[in-house]
């Protein structure tokens, strides 16, 4: 367990460094300015990983991480203003770029399988994604309008 925590921390820091430089080049936020926010995000992740190990529920660690992230930043949490201010210096899109860079390298191995898919599969699979996206958006639109939110 301790070994794992150490390993996770090192990997999150490595990932964080790439994200901080992307944050600088893409969004003009100096790395030092975004370090406190990145540290908070890493701590939230570690807390989530540990919670998933310790709590005997079959709940994925990503769910704990999101919930802990929410809990430390609600308007009712003491100190949440700092959390919001510091993590605000880490742009969301700066995190997605390294994620998709790793994803690109990871999916390379699936490329052979992908190339074997026939054209009918490509058409149907595109419609599957399109169908759920438009279906969900239509329902959301109707309910949000009924509720008067938009």
């Amino acid at each position: 367990m301790l070994n794992n925590i150490q390993e996770w921390t090192i990997l999150l820091v490595i990932f964080g460094i790439s994200a901080l430089f992307g944050n600088w080049l893409g969004y003009g936020i100096m790395p030092l300015q975004a370090v406190p926010g990145m540290i908070i995000l890493i701590l939230v992740c570690l807390a989530g990983f540990i919670a998933a190990e310790v709590i005997p529920l079959r709940f994925p660690s990503v769910a704990y991480i999101a919930i802990i992230g929410i809990l430390v930043s609600t308007p009712w949490t003491p100190g949440s203003a700092y959390v919001a201010e510091w993590t605000g210096q880490v742009e969301l899109l700066a995190l997605t770029t390294p994620i998709l860079a790793y994803a690109g390298i990871a999916i390379g191995r699936s490329w052979a399988d992908f190339a074997k898919l026939g054209w009918r599969t490509l058409v149907v699979a595109s419609l599957v994604l399109l169908g759920t996206f438009i279906g969900s958006a239509l329902i959301a639109e109707v309910v949000l309008r009924i509720q008067g939110i938009i």
Partner: protein, 268 residues
């Protein structure tokens, strides 16, 4: 999950981390571009360049099978960091999210749109039982598990769900990134509705779709992220049950109806 794989020694793969660092630098330096297609706007974001450069690097001598294997747990860790960020964006807006609860919950049923749109086309193209596996859901991990459990990996249904799973894995983020910004600028639907629709239960697809919405509507960034993140969490926790109790039975029923009308043998 990551903890089971005992991510030991992954940090020692410096080749992988340096490559990713370089990809990030290149992608962010190129920056964002957009162009119009008719009345809609297609956004090209650094994350799109990143996934394509990553793929090219895999096929170059720079990286190999080993880096590709190591990249997968790193991807999980990156998504963890992204979810922490989404958590702290949702937190301050929690009252707003709770207010939008009904819309968030009901739009989960929108996943059934895939059956209505994709199943008839799949049958028209001449696919048989594969179509059931392909169109009963968006084919993320829990849905693949369900089909494998019900029909087995070598069944036509199993092949169908794997095909869509592979498509989503390889192409999903790029596809969602391109259509999200395009549809949100093209159609009269509100960006908030598309934000909720972005959470389909895959971290990278959600990131790509909501990212391109933010690119198109920067003023609405926080609410877009909060809605997309909350919706993705809901999809992760309810997606399997929607599949078991509604998606798969509905697909079966529609399949039998359509096959009968076409004079086919039903369970061919």
């Amino acid at each position: 999950m990551l903890s089971r794989e005992k991510a030991n020694g992954l940090w020692k793969d410096w080749r992988l981390h340096v490559i990713v660092f370089a990809i990030v630098i290149i992608a962010e330096s190129i920056g964002q571009f957009e162009f119009s297609v008719g009345p809609g706007v297609v956004l090209l974001l650094p994350m799109l360049y990143a996934i394509i450069i990553g793929l090219v690097v895999f096929f170059s001598p720079l990286a190999g099978e080993e880096q590709s294997k190591h990249a997968e747990p790193l991807l999980v860790l990156g998504v963890a960091l992204l979810l922490a960020k989404i958590g702290v964006i949702i937190g301050p807006d929690l009252p707003e999210i709770i207010a939008a609860g009904p819309a968030l919950l009901l739009q989960e049923l929108g996943n059934l749109g895939t059956i209505l749109v994709a199943l008839p086309i799949a049958l028209m193209l001449g696919l048989k039982r594969e179509a059931v596996g392909m169109t009963h859901s968006v084919a993320r991990e829990p849905n693949v598990g369900l089909i494998m459990d019900r029909f087995g990996i070598n069944s036509p249904e199993g092949r169908g769900v794997m095909a869509v799973y592979i498509f989503g894995t390889v192409f999903g983020a790029v596809f969602m990134g391109l259509i999200a910004g395009f549809l949100a600028t093209l159609t009269p639907l509100h960006p908030y509705s598309f934000a909720m629709a972005s959470g389909i239960g895959s971290g990278s697809m959600m990131a790509a779709a909501s990212g391109s919405l933010i690119g198109a509507f920067p003023d609405m960034e926080n609410t877009i992220v909060a809605f997309a993140g909350a919706s993705n969490l809901l999809s992760l926790s309810t997606g399997l049950y929607v599949s078991i109790f509604i998606g798969l039975p509905l697909t079966e029923k529609l399949y039998r109806m359509m096959e009968k009308r076409r004079g086919g043998g039903g369970d061919a």
